[in-house]
Symmetry: C2
Subunit: 135 residues, 2 copies
Amino acid sequence: MTGNSPDFTVSLRAAGLRPTRQRVALARVLFEGGHRHVTAESLHAEVKATRMPVSLATVYNTLNQFREAGLLREVVVAPGRSYFDTNTGHHHHFFVETDGELHDFPSDEVTIAGLPTPPEGTKLSRVDVIVRVRR
Amino acid sequence: MTGNSPDFTVSLRAAGLRPTRQRVALARVLFEGGHRHVTAESLHAEVKATRMPVSLATVYNTLNQFREAGLLREVVVAPGRSYFDTNTGHHHHFFVETDGELHDFPSDEVTIAGLPTPPEGTKLSRVDVIVRVRR
DNA sequence: CAATAACTTAGAACGGTTCTAAGGTTCTTG
DNA sequence: CAAGAACCTTAGAACCGTTCTAAGTTATTG
């Protein structure tokens, strides 16, 4: 019980999700290394390479459940493509428009001053900064 | 020739686009009042209400051409939906997540300091700030 | 006003995402 | 540890916003 790899069973259960074979396999691919940016398709390809059969529908379901559970954050940079980011902390993004790459940068070096107050009856949810660059 | 409404024929021609009935009708809906945020569907509904027949394909074509010509700016806030903004100047957005509304706010009151330098071999294209709020 | 190039159109196609309904897995309870 | 219940996964269909296709139409040019 003193294994040296993170126990995804525990974190999944903590998120209210049964630790099924598929979800554990996906969690491993997503969270075992450093921070990742994946699309449903790219994650599907990766998990299939581990020889654990997971359908594309399950990849979509799981990404959405992980996002709802706060384990992932969705980043929308271009129409028709959703990225999921395993870094759920405060940070912003570089987006290389010419090749679709997404990179994090920490938000603690960035100061945003003078933001107007939200419209009546709304409360702040998040501030996204996307720095778009081209090659 | 000294009419008091903008001459879209001229601006379309300046953008390298023939001033067809459809494009003029769309330009009128888009640019005749103040700044607008539209989707292809919403613009299609509006222009049809003027009793000028325009197909949805033409709305898409025209929005893309106007964007390429710098007459519009595309704003990506949520997966699977593109907004086009008639305000092409420097400004940022409020996005009311709970009902899909988009509002401009001027960028000159906002200061963003400490942005990291773009990755090697890339040059800055634009910095988007999206302030997400909920009701 | 004819010839040409550009444009519009309906409908099909497309790509990413969600839904459906059937079967399989995990959990709970005794 | 068996059995039922709840939950999950799956293939394939459906869906939705967008783009493509091929044919007909319109603006421009000479």
